[in-house]
């Protein structure tokens, strides 16, 4: 039976992912806009633009790692 503690653990894991996902989205929004602007000037920049755009994705991956750690550590305790 899932108690309130389980719910809190799940909630905190969810917060870890969602906040980092929003942060990633904000960062990628600006880079993406700039990359599209640069591409309009020079089409060859597509590759570089794409790579730069996915750079902030690290943030949400850290969020996922933290979420897994929360579930792992708090779940075991």
């Amino acid at each position: 039976m899932a108690g309130i503690e389980t719910g809190l653990i799940a909630l905190s894991a969810g917060i870890a992912i969602s906040v980092t996902a929003i942060a990633t989205a904000i960062a990628e929004k600006q880079i993406g806009a700039a990359a599209v602007g640069a591409m309009a000037e020079k089409e060859g920049l597509f590759g570089k633009g794409l790579i730069l755009t996915v750079i902030p994705e690290t943030i949400v991956i850290f969020g996922l790692v933290v979420a897994i750690l929360i579930i792992g550590i708090a779940g075991a305790a």
């Binding site: 570089k48 790579i51 996915v54 994705e57 690290t58 991956i61 850290f62 996922l64 790692v65």
Partner: protein, 627 residues
């Protein structure tokens, strides 16, 4: 494999009398990378060959013709034109181009004239049609001494009773005809010439727009006859237009190959003619500086000596330090597709290690680790094998590289025991070494372990690069220091967890030592970047994360459609659609996401450990720069 092609500097000095021969030879060799001469006080740049202007003129005409005729010279199958045209051939090309040009111009002018005639006839046709409806004879529209008339049209169908009443207030000396046509009202009104202003005033207020009928003045007979005559003439012009069109397309068909060939060979000639602009020159001599692959040095110098009959002087200068040497990547054929990723990022410097081979090893590994599904791997493999037959050139290299990625995805699919997200088939569980769905934590540890190895390989390559460029001391403090830091942190972690029987301070001492080393190697910048090595290692957790997202999406699709399959006929249809669409979308994501993340791990995490780049591309004279 780890080094770009070895290059040697070759300088060619000779009298201008043999310049064109030398240019022709170098152009056909396609191996000499010319370094543009910058004008100095002692040495000016050369001036184009004499026929240059002439060739440019013809070339402009050809390109204009191609544009106007809708021919794309870039679609030339045998693009490698050598030029080597004699003056006679150039003259004959010019004559033919001028002929085609004149013929095309004449056709276009005829076309314009035909269009203009059609337009005028169409106006007449409309006028005759309207007059026919009014039932007024054509010869009524002539010059009178006491009578005047206005023909006009009003928007919408209008009752003219009101108009008549208004006109009656001014005069009764008029006669009005009207008809309705296409929802408009056509009016012809004849009146006393003295009342012209009054009547025109009323008509203008009523919103009548006058039709010019001066064109038919003097014509006799009824409108019907003129109408059919106009239609007949229009038919004749339409035929004429068709004839002109077919003449143009015939011209295009006949001259297409000639124009494309001429464009290619004249472009080659133009490039040769303009080559002296890149040379240094005096009144009587020219100097070309450039690079050729070392292994071709002997044959090229022999060829040049041969062609100029010993009248030119060739010598190889010492390569100066920090000189920009053009980069031609040199890799076995199998690895070559991965040069695409180097082109996309930046080419290595001459003395740097060319990381193409390392990318060949790890790019498919990461891609496969993230996609990791036998089914998806097979689908993408088939897709890329198909694309390989369709796409050539630069993007073809990418497709070839992705074939390696797909094979790797199949292998990892076997290791993870996944087939389109299913971990069992027909009731039998697929063999697996590690289940991504069940063993997330283990998967993360594996991913991070891969990261540790990858980053340390990067540091070792960096050590080698620095060793060659700046010597042992710099290399040691800049690269090995980071490895010491990693070791220190590992010792701290292991002693705290009780795996290593050491005093707790040992790890901290190692870390402190490494920080001092980093400071000595990279200065304050290194201290600021201290945490980056850990965030970058942790960043390899994406190998797990991206893969997990793909697995879970696949499992969700399978479960949902599985449930639908038990819900009658509609459910089976819906389930099948969901299954197909879902997996297609997931494969689409599976192509983009692992590709980008694998590339990013190389560009951001791996390359920053050793790679500077910024090499200049090797573009031998005679190959058109495609950038």
């Amino acid at each position: 494999m780890f080094k770009p092609e070895r290059m040697s500097k070759l300088t060619v000095i000779g009298p201008k009398t043999v310049m064109d021969v030398v240019i022709n030879k170098l152009y056909s060799l396609k191996i000499y990378h010319i370094v543009d001469h910058k004008k100095t006080e002692e040495l000016d740049i050369g001036s184009p060959l004499a026929q240059g202007g002439d060739i440019s003129d013809i070339l402009i005409k050809i390109r204009a013709l191609c544009t106007n005729m809708g021919i794309d010279p870039a679609k030339n199958e045998k693009k490698a034109a050598e030029g080597n045209l004699t003056q006679k051939e150039i003259d004959s090309i010019r004559r033919r181009v001028e002929k085609v040009h004149a013929e095309f111009d004449r056709s276009m002018e005829n076309m314009k004239a035909a269009d203009e005639n059609m337009r005028k006839l169409d106006e007449k046709r409309i006028l005759f049609e309207r007059l026919r409806l009014l039932g007024v004879d054509i010869d009524s529209f002539t010059d009178y001494s006491t009578l005047s008339y206005i023909v006009g049209i009003m928007e919408n169908v209008k009752d003219i009773g009101e108009l008549k009443r208004e006109l009656n207030k001014k005069t009764s000396k008029y006669e009005i005809y009207h008809a309705y046509c296409e929802g408009k009202t056509i009016i012809a009104i004849f009146f006393d010439v003295e009342k012209k202003n009054d009547i025109a005033d009323v008509l203008a207020r009523r919103g009548l727009s006058e039709i010019d009928v001066s064109g038919i003045k003097g014509l006799k007979g009824d409108a019907w006859k003129h109408l059919s005559a106009a239609k007949e003439e229009m038919g004749r012009w339409a035929k004429e237009k068709k004839a002109i069109e077919s003449a143009i397309s015939g011209l295009k068909k006949n001259e297409r190959d000639f124009l494309i060939d001429a464009e290619a060979s004249l472009s080659a000639e133009a490039e040769k003619a303009e080559a002296p602009l890149r040379f240094a020159s005096t009144e009587k001599t020219f100097v070309i500086r450039g690079w050729i692959p070392t292994k071709k040095m002997k044959s090229v110098t022999d060829d040049l000596d041969d062609i100029a009959k010993g009248r030119i002087h060739l010598f190889s200068e010492e390569v100066k330090k920090d000189e920009d040497i053009p980069i031609k990547l040199k890799n076995p054929r199998m690895i070559e597709p991965f040069e695409f990723f180097m082109d996309m990022y930046t080419l290595p410097k001459y003395k740097e290690i060319d990381p193409t081979f390392l990318m060949f090893l790890t790019f498919p590994l990461f891609y496969g680790f993230m996609l990791g599904d036998v089914g998806y791997g097979i689908v993408t493999l088939v897709l890329f094998l198909y694309l390989r037959t369709k796409i050539k050139g630069d993007m073809g290299r990418l497709v070839n590289a992705m074939i390696f990625g797909s094979i790797s995805a199949i292998i990892f699919g076997c290791l993870f025991g996944e087939f389109f997200g299913f971990e069992e088939l027909g009731g039998y569980e697929l063999m697996h070494v590690l289940s991504r769905y069940e063993q997330m934590n283990e998967l993360m540890y594996v991913a991070i372990a891969i990261g540790v190895v990858h980053i340390n390989i990067g540091l070792l390559v960096g050590f080698y690069n620095e060793l060659r460029a700046h010597g042992f001391r710099t290399a040691f403090f800049e690269k090995i220091s980071w490895m010491v830091l990693e070791a220190g942190v590992a010792v701290i972690a292991l002693t705290y967890m009780g795996y290593v029987p050491l005093q707790k301070w040992v790890g901290f001492v190692i870390v402190a030592l490494s920080i001092i080393m980093i400071y000595m190697g990279e200065g304050a910048k290194g201290i600021v970047e201290l945490p980056s090595i850990f965030s970058q290692t942790l960043s390899y957790a994406r190998l797990m994360a991206v893969g997990l997202a793909s697995v879970i999406l696949a499992v969700v699709i399978n479960d949902l459609s599985g449930e639908l399959f038990h819900a009658g006929i509609g459910g089976i249809i819906g389930g099948t659609i969901l299954l197909v669409v879902g997996h297609v979308i997931n494969i689409g994501l599976g192509l983009i996401s692992p590709f980008l993340h694998s590339l990013r791990l190389h560009y951001v995490e791996f390359f920053t450990k050793f790679y500077h780049g910024g090499g200049m591309r090797y573009v031998p004279f005679g190959t058109r720069d495609e950038q």
